[in-house]
Structure formats: structure tokens, C-alpha cells
């Protein structure tokens, strides 16, 4: 089937770049700024267990002590004013199980984003988060019977501590970086998922993260545990309206794939251009297990995100497929980390970045392969596409140690969409935006074939909208 045939079957979603908002009206509001009291307020609202309260407060200390990663990051990070951000906003604590019970403005928001329709068509379960908390959460009943758990972070830690606590904060420790510490202090929402031994989910679970309020920080926390021989695909989507002021999105996502389990984590991110998107994502793969990140970064003011896989058990596999699109005034600083810790582990990184106008994209890769290991393989490919001469792209691949029995392969390319190519396409009747969009779609085409269909359709539409908008 060709791409355009696939497009015909697209679920029609009125995304409009997600640029709309509803008036603010919250029951719980932690106010502006970050102090111990802010954290205590969040813990009180959530009725956190004592160990969770301590975990948060300790994380706040770490956050305060940790410097910004200024040694290599974009200077723009310094423009985040932590005292002006609102750290917790919600309309209530318990997510509805039926869309009918979701407040009208929230329900309309998600309807405009096409979530209920996607749920009917191809999802096994959905969680829809509006600012700090999920407004809706539901999973198909048969999965519940099989013992699959799909809840928010608060419910996960309160109701199933025996399952989640042993792994919580273990793949990504609080002190990993300043933003993982911030998340550990303020986290709210996100998905906690447990897939029991041998259970293979045929349809994806999905979470949608929506920021509606201005000056707000969204700190969802996700932990997915796939028990032995189980399989799960999880999709997350994100949008926010365009505000004048900066908005912060700083998630922590931890994946645990036990022996022979498979986790596929897919992100469709379409943040508006005022969002700082600073996310820490890492998976751990036990013997024979597989963790695959499919990561698409469109929009935001600055994104810093380097999904990683710790290949802990023999024969584990890790993969990062990413697409980043940096438009005028945006910086996509993305990449991947692969930590080989056992023999026969393999990792694959394919990164495609598109820079438009003054947009900037950076690739940072880290492949760690100690010398004593045998039969480990890494393949890294990063391709950059520049549209317009002002665009900028940098590649910083880092490979640390590799033994004689291991192989590491690295390829990088930079190409441009020329004015002559655009003229050629326009001569056939395509507008400038359509022509650029086709060129971009062509550039990511082979990578998109590896994505689930619903996802590539959505991605194609986002690229089209972004390119239409980039023509002056």
C-alpha cells in the first residue's frame, strides 16, 4: 500500500496544531513558584504515602543543588524562570471512566484532538491528561481480566506499591540530571503500566498530554513494566496552545522490559513554540528483551531529549528511531543513548532531523560498549535535511570503548532541499508549502515505514501543517 493510500484511511483529526484553549478553572492550584510548601501541597492533594512525600522532598533538594546542564546545552535554558511557573493545576483527582463524565471543556478539548475517535478505532486503552491530572482513563475490560494495570502515577504508587515501588526511580535516578530531579519532586499524572507474564497486547495503550494553562509546568511520570515474555506498545501525544509566556514540560519515563519482553514506546509531540520540552526517557532491557523508542519531535521552543536503553541482559536489543523537525526559532536537541552491559546485545539508532529557516537541530549520541563484552553491535545513522540556508545542524556522536569482538557502525549525511527542487515541484502545481512538505515526507519516508500505520498518518499530517505554516 502506498503512503497516500494510507492517508485515505486516516482518522480525520482536527488538530489545528492544537492551538486553542479553554478558560482556566481549577479546583487545585499550587500557586506560582517552587518551595517545600509547593511540594507538600501536591503531596497533600494526592494524599501521598510517607515514602513518596520523602522521595519528593529529597528530590527538591537535589534539584536545587544541581546545576543546569550548561556545559553543552542551549543558552536558552537560562531563560526558564522557575519562580514564575505554576507546578500543579487540576480539576479533580479521579479520572472519569466514561467521556460523558469528563467536564465539558476538557472533553471538547480531547474531541478536537480526536482522542475518543482514535480510542474507538484502534486503541486498547486511553488516558487523557489535562494539565496536572488525567481527566479520563479507561482500558478494555478483557485486559483488566488478564491482569494488565493501566493507571496514573498517584494511583499506581498508592494501590500497587509492591509492583511499582521496586522499579520507581531505578532506571532514571532522581539525580540523573536537574530536570529528572525536578520531575521527581513535582511529578503528577503520567501512566503506570504493568503487563503480566506472557500477556501480549495486540493494540496500543495511549496517553495524551494536554497543557491548557499558561505559565504552567507539566511533570508527568511514566513507568511501564513488561513482565517476562510480554509485549506492549504505548503511544503518547502532546500538544499545548500557543502562549506568550514560557511553558515547561518535563517528564520522566522509565521502561522495564523483563526477560524476553518487548516494549515499544511511541511519541507524537507537537508542542507550540513557547514550550521548553526537557524530558528524560530510559528503558532497561533484560535478557532477550527489546526496548524500542519511536520518537517524533515537532514544535517546542527547545527540546532536549535523548531516549536511552540500558542493555542489561544477554541478547537484549535496543532501538531509537527519531524524527525531529526544527522550524524558525526552535531548537531540537535530541539523540539517543545505548548502554551495552552484556554480551550479544545489539542496538540501532536512526535519527532524521529537519531544520527550516532559523531552526536548529542537534544530534547527540552516546554508545557505551565496554571492551570486555563479546558480540555486541551498534548501528547509528543520522541524516539531516536543511531547508533554507540559515538552518543549522550539528552532530555529536560519542562512542566509548569497544572490544575487538564488537562492531560499531556510524553513518551521517546532510542534504538540502534546493530552490530548484522547489521550483520543479511548484511547476507541477504544488504550492511552496506542499512542495516542502513532500520533500520532508520523502526524507523521512523510509523511517516512517517502520512506524505503525496510525502513527505515520498522524505524523505526515503534522509535517504538512508545520510546512504550510513555515512558508512566509
Amino acid at each position: 500500500m502506498s503512503d497516500t493510500d494510507i492517508q485515505d484511511e486516516a482518522i480525520k483529526v482536527d488538530t489545528e496544531k492544537g492551538n486553542f484553549k479553554y478558560p482556566e478553572n481549577y479546583e487545585f492550584d499550587a500557586g506560582v513558584g517552587l518551595t517545600e510548601d509547593t511540594i507538600k501541597y501536591i503531596s497533600d492533594v494526592k494524599n501521598d504515602d510517607e515514602w513518596v512525600r520523602e522521595f519528593r522532598l529529597k528530590a527538591l533538594e537535589v534539584f536545587k543543588k544541581k546545576p543546569m546542564p550548561t556545559n553543552w546545552a542551549d543558552k536558552d535554558l537560562e531563560n526558564i524562570d522557575f519562580d514564575k511557573i505554576r507546578y500543579y493545576l487540576s480539576k479533580g483527582q479521579v479520572p472519569a471512566r466514561s467521556w460523558d463524565d469528563v467536564p465539558d471543556d476538557v472533553k471538547e478539548t480531547f474531541e478536537r484532538l480526536g482522542i475518543p475517535e482514535q480510542e474507538r478505532k484502534f486503541l486498547a486503552g486511553v488516558e487523557a491528561q489535562f494539565d496536572s491530572e488525567a481527566s479520563y482513563s479507561r482500558m478494555k475490560e478483557d485486559l483488566e481480566k488478564e491482569g494488565v494495570i493501566f493507571v496514573g502515577s498517584t494511583e499506581g504508587l498508592a494501590k500497587y506499591p509492591e509492583i511499582f515501588r521496586p522499579y520507581f526511580g531505578k532506571v532514571i535516578p532522581t539525580a540523573d540530571n536537574k530536570f529528572s530531579a525536578l520531575n521527581s519532586a513535582t511529578f503528577s499524572g503520567g501512566s503506570f503500566i504493568y503487563v503480566p507474564k506472557g500477556v501480549k497486547l495486540k493494540q496500543p495503550l495511549q496517553a495524551y498530554f494536554r497543557i491548557n494553562a499558561e505559565n504552567f509546568g507539566q511533570f508527568e511520570r511514566t513507568l511501564i513494566i513488561a513482565d517476562e515474555d510480554s509485549e506492549i506498545t504505548y503511544m503518547e501525544g502532546c500538544t499545548a496552545p500557543k502562549f506568550e509566556t514560557a511553558t515547561l514540560h518535563s517528564a520522566v519515563v522509565e521502561l522495564v522490559a523483563l526477560k524476553n519482553a518487548k516494549i515499544q514506546y511511541i511519541t507524537v509531540q507537537n508542542w507550540s513554540s513557547n514550550v521548553f520540552n526537557l524530558v528524560t526517557k530510559r528503558g532497561m532491557a533484560d535478557e532477550g528483551a527489546e526496548v524500542k523508542w519511536i520518537d517524533c519531535n515537532i514544535g517546542s521552543r527547545l527540546t532536549m531529549k535523548y531516549p536511552g536503553v540500558v542493555l542489561k541482559g544477554k541478547g537484549a536489543r535496543g532501538e531509537v528511531l527519531s524524527i525531529a523537525l526544527a522550524n524558525d526559532g526552535q531548537h531540537q536537541d535530541t539523540g539517543a543513548k545505548m548502554m551495552h552491559l552484556a554480551d550479544n546485545t545489539t542496538s540501532n539508532i536512526i535519527s532524521k532531523s529537519i531544520s527550516i529557516g532559523k531552526g536548529r537541530s542537534t544530534y547527540r549520541g552516546q554508545v557505551h560498549m565496554p571492551k570486555h563484552l563479546k558480540n555486541c553491535k551498534n548501528n547509528t545513522e543520522c541524516d539531516a535535511l536543511l531547508i533554507n540556508t540559515n538552518s543549522r545542524t550539528d552532530t555529536y556522536p560519542a562512542i566509548t570503548t569497544r572490544g575487538e569482538n564488537n562492531t560499531v557502525q556510524h553513518e551521517a549525511s546532510v542534504s538540502k532541499v534546493s530552490a530548484e527542487q522547489i521550483f520543479y515541484m511548484m511547476q507541477r502545481g504544488l504550492s511552496e508549502g506542499e512542495a516542502m512538505s513532500l520533500a520532508v515526507n520523502g526524507f523521512v519516508n523510509d523511517l516512517m515505514k517502520a512506524f505503525p500505520m496510525e502513527y505515520s498518518v498522524e505524523l505526515k499530517r503534522l509535517i504538512d501543517m508545520e510546512m504550510e505554516g513555515s512558508v512566509g
Binding site: S2, D3, T4, D5, D8, S415, S418, E420, Q421, F423, Y424, M425, M426, Q427, R428, G429, L430, S431, E432, E434, L438, A439, N441, G442, F443, V444, N445, D446
Partner: protein, 253 residues
Amino acid sequence: MNTLEIKNLNVSIDGQAILKDFSLTIPKGEVHALMGPNGTGKSTLAKVIAGHEDYTVESGEVLLDGVNILGGEPDDIAKAGLFLAFQYPLEIPGVSIANFIRAARQARLPEGEDINAVEYYKELYAKMDALKMDRKFTARSLNEGFSGGEKKRCEILQMSMLDPKYCIMDETDSGLDIDALRIVSEGVNLMRSEERGFLVITHYQRLLDYIVPDVVHVMFDGRIVHSGDAELAKELESKGYDWVKEEFVGAPA
């Protein structure tokens, strides 16, 4: 009204005049051949008409069925009915021929209307068969890694799928082998009709053996210096351009 009319066109690039008071009228139903030495401005003419922005139009008009298209956006000119088969077609990696032509067709439809995929592919395959193009080509990236002749065939495929009112073919024959030349010419001849006009830019008589022109023009130094019937091309083939040049240089300014 049913003409592509180029009136007193003056075009320069970086301050250097390339087209000098160029005039030419192509009525629908006719094929005009444009010949002339390298660097006289034939491709420039084609690109200016198609809306290329690198050239500075000093003065003149290009009327497509009476409407001035000069200075318009390339896509608007294309949608008004002008097709340019490029001398050097561009490669578009990752975009398949089928999807590209489909997008171009879609761009011609009113908002909300969609192409019927089944009919589209039927037509596409029929036209590819006629041009003796392997159907496997539909999935290949547009022009990427194509041989010179394959690129030219692909131009003609696009031309026939987009149903233009006026076709400008810039050296479509170069790069074609003898069989391909015949096949492509047959494809063009099938498109000849009372509803369509052609400007065929070429250096060689052999193309005009297949696509017999109604009028032949000789271009030199940015303007047409001589016009005649199909016999003129034969004369050029045997005698070269020197006599035209001499005639032109010798003529009073």
C-alpha cells in the same frame, strides 16, 4: 484568445540581458519548434514563462489564453495550464512517482474533493504502458538514480497525466536512445490536439521527424531571427547556424 502569446519580453540576469524583445505566439493546435545555438536563451525563456524567480523581467507580457501570467507564482502558472518538461529534471528523494503526480493532480482539485485512487492508478498504468515504462517505476523515488532517458520519459508521463493547455518541452530528446525517442514522440503526438499548443526546444532534426512541427523558429542572441516551416529544420541540420548568424549580424539593427 486561444494562444500562448509572448510579447516583447526582455529578461536579464545579474544585469546581463538574455532575452531581448522576444516575441512568439503559439496557437492551440500547433506545434512550434525552437532551435538555436547553445546559450542563446531557450531554457531561460522556458523558465521565465514558468515563473522562475532568478530572472529579472525588464518588460513584456506572457498571455496564456489572454491572461498575463508573467510574474505569477510557478504553481499558479502551472495550474493555469502551463507545463514545462525540464531539460534537467530534478531528483526528489523519497517521493515516489505515483505519490508525486497524485499530489500534483490533487492540487488541481477544489478543496474537499479527493482523487479516486482506483481510477488514478488505472490511468497512470495505461500511460506508463504507452511510454513503455516498467510499472515498478511508480514506487521509485522521483528521478532519483534514473538514467537520462528515464528522466525524460518521466517528464512526458507527468505531462500527459497533468493535461496542460500549453507544453514547453526543453530538449526532451537529449538523453533518449533511438527507440525511446520514437516512443516518447508517439506519446507527445497522442497529446497533440486542437486543445493544446506545444513549444518544442531541440537541437536536432531527428525529433522533428517524429513530432512534425507546424512552425520552426531559430533563436539567436535572445530573440527569434528566422521562422519557417518544417523544412527549415532540415536546412539547419545540413547547413548549421552560421548562415542564420551571418544573416542576423548583417541585417540592419
